[in-house]
């Protein structure tokens, strides 16, 4: 038994398939065009995603590096200062424990005018641990010396010492100097300190000039100065009690 197909029907079928093929081809072309159009966009999205992931990896790597440094400091026997720019606090620490904490009223970064702010030197210092800070002006502790005579009747009487606030006057501003020209300058709010007594007229006239000259002389050896303003009592307390050779780190996360 054979099936005969009507030629007219065959022709009709061809027409139908041609009618169906044309939109399909058009759709295919449109799809290809869309793909061609979207491919760069997809590539761009991938690149953006990769960039975001790279940024995240970089941030994590930096945070880990900071944590490692903090851990190294905490493992040592030395005292260290940590500045938290976000919480505006300066902490004196030992072995990972905060011994005292001071609120920082104002923070400034002072750079020699020859160093532009865009320079790497402006930011690079903040990623390091600065070792063995030296107080300037030096804190001089008056020690009472008693020579024992071996005779109780001639032994000198031991004086009752003054309160620490009376014994050690803190200046209105002082520095903690580190190697390679980095220093922290601590200023109190009122600008008054032990060194700010009212001087005679000529001295008052000469003092700012002398200070400017000294500053400029110092500027030759300084590369970065971080200026922190503390409450008067805090600045004085820090000056009196800062342990010697204290390290310093900025916790910039």
């Amino acid at each position: 038994m054979s099936t005969e197909i009507d030629p007219a029907a065959r022709h009709g079928a061809r027409r139908v398939s041609a009618a169906l093929c044309a939109p399909a081809a058009a759709a295919l072309c449109a799809l290809l065009a869309l793909c061609a159009f979207l491919a760069p966009a997809a590539n761009a999205a991938n690149a953006a995603n990769e960039e975001e992931l790279s940024g995240q990896a970089a941030r994590l790597a930096r945070e880990n590096e900071l944590l490692k440094r903090r851990l190294e400091l905490a493992d040592s026997k030395d005292f260290y200062l940590i500045l938290h720019p976000e919480t505006r606090t300066l902490s004196v620490m030992l072995a990972g424990v905060t011994l005292s904490e001071y609120a920082v009223r104002r923070m400034q970064l002072a750079l020699p005018r020859r160093v532009p702010l865009e320079s790497d030197a402006a930011a690079e210092w903040a990623d390091r641990v600065w070792m063995k800070g030296v107080l300037d002006p030096e804190r001089v502790r008056d020690r009472v010396e008693i020579v024992a005579t071996g005779d109780s009747t001639t032994m000198p009487e031991i004086p009752i010492p003054p309160l620490p606030e009376e014994a050690l006057q803190a200046p209105a501003r002082f520095r903690i100097r580190y190697g390679e020209g980095v220093s922290i300058e601590i200023r109190n709010v009122s600008g008054a300190g032990a060194l700010a007594k009212k001087p005679p007229f000529w001295q008052a006239l000469w003092a700012p000039i002398r200070r400017a000259l000294t500053e400029r002389a110092a500027a030759r050896h300084e590369s970065v100065r971080l200026v922190l303003q503390l409450e008067d009592e805090d600045a004085a307390a820090l000056y009196r009690s800062l342990p010697p050779d204290t390290h310093f780190m900025v916790l910039y996360e």
């Binding site: 880990n64 930011a123 010396e145 001639t154 309160l163 050690l168 400017a212």
Partner: protein, 252 residues
């Protein structure tokens, strides 16, 4: 002798009308001095403006710089994806944070500011008690005769630990206590014993240093000790309650 005409000597002005002129050399001298002084002043001002330090707000001024400069992603090892690397870095951060957190004692600990004569009883960064104490005087005692020893009465800075707790402590006076009073050193140990001077409790933290009570509470707040930490009675009782052997002591 030639003939002198008026045009040669200028107009003839009567002496009464002549304006006295300042001597020219003097005026030139002043101009010169002013010019030099002005130049020096300008140079000085320029020098002041162009040298020295310029202040910028921190950290805002270098925020972008810091992020950019810290923005180098670590290199990817072969066969590792960025996601995997981030997971590793995150795990490492957790480990480091935990290690840092472990540095803070779990229980109570003592922080002593020997400059301002303050003792803080702490737990997990929380201040439970602040007490006025007395720390080392910093006095230097020189032995005038005999062994010519020297003692410096400082409280040692650093991390210490409560090694031993003693109730009703007895003071065994060291040599310096006799030297300081100009007394001869005793031959027998029992002559060194003194009762009641250390208060109710004592916490030994090594090398003869202690936190203890005192008979002279009026001197608390002043640096009068030989290196030990003196504390008032009530505060000492609180320490006795909260600080077992092993309690860390941080002195700065």
């Amino acid at each position: 002798m030639g003939i002198l005409y008026e045009s040669d000597i200028g107009p003839v002005i009567p002496a009464a009308l002549r304006v006295p002129r300042r001597p020219a050399p003097l005026r030139r001298g002043w101009v010169l001095v002013l010019a030099v002084a002005g130049s020096i002043a300008l140079t000085a001002v320029a020098w002041l403006l162009l040298t020295g330090f310029a202040a910028h707000p921190f950290p805002q001024a270098i925020s972008g710089r810091m992020h950019r400069w810290g923005g180098e992603a670590p290199a990817l090892p072969a066969g590792m994806t960025r996601e995997r690397q981030i997971a590793q870095l995150t795990a490492e951060r957790r480990r480091l944070e935990a290690a840092l957190a472990r540095k803070i004692p779990r229980g109570h600990y003592i922080v002593i500011d020997q400059t301002h004569n303050r003792l803080h009883l702490m737990r997990q960064n929380e201040r439970l008690m602040e007490a006025v104490c007395s720390a080392g005087s910093g006095m230097v005692l020189l032995e005038g005769s005999g062994r010519k020893r020297t003692w410096v009465f400082d409280t040692p800075r650093g991390v210490h630990t409560v090694l031993r707790r003693v109730e009703k402590p007895v003071w065994k006076k060291p040599d310096w206590a006799f030297v300081e009073e100009g007394l001869p050193l005793p031959r027998r140990d029992d002559e060194r014993i003194e009762y009641g001077v250390l208060g109710e409790y004592a916490f030994h933290f090594g090398n003869g240093y202690m936190i203890h009570g005192t008979l002279y509470e009026r001197l608390l707040g002043r640096s009068v000790t030989h290196g030990c930490i003196r504390l008032g009675r009530e505060n000492l009782r609180r320490l006795w309650k909260d600080c077992p052997v092993g309690t860390p002591i941080y002195v700065y």
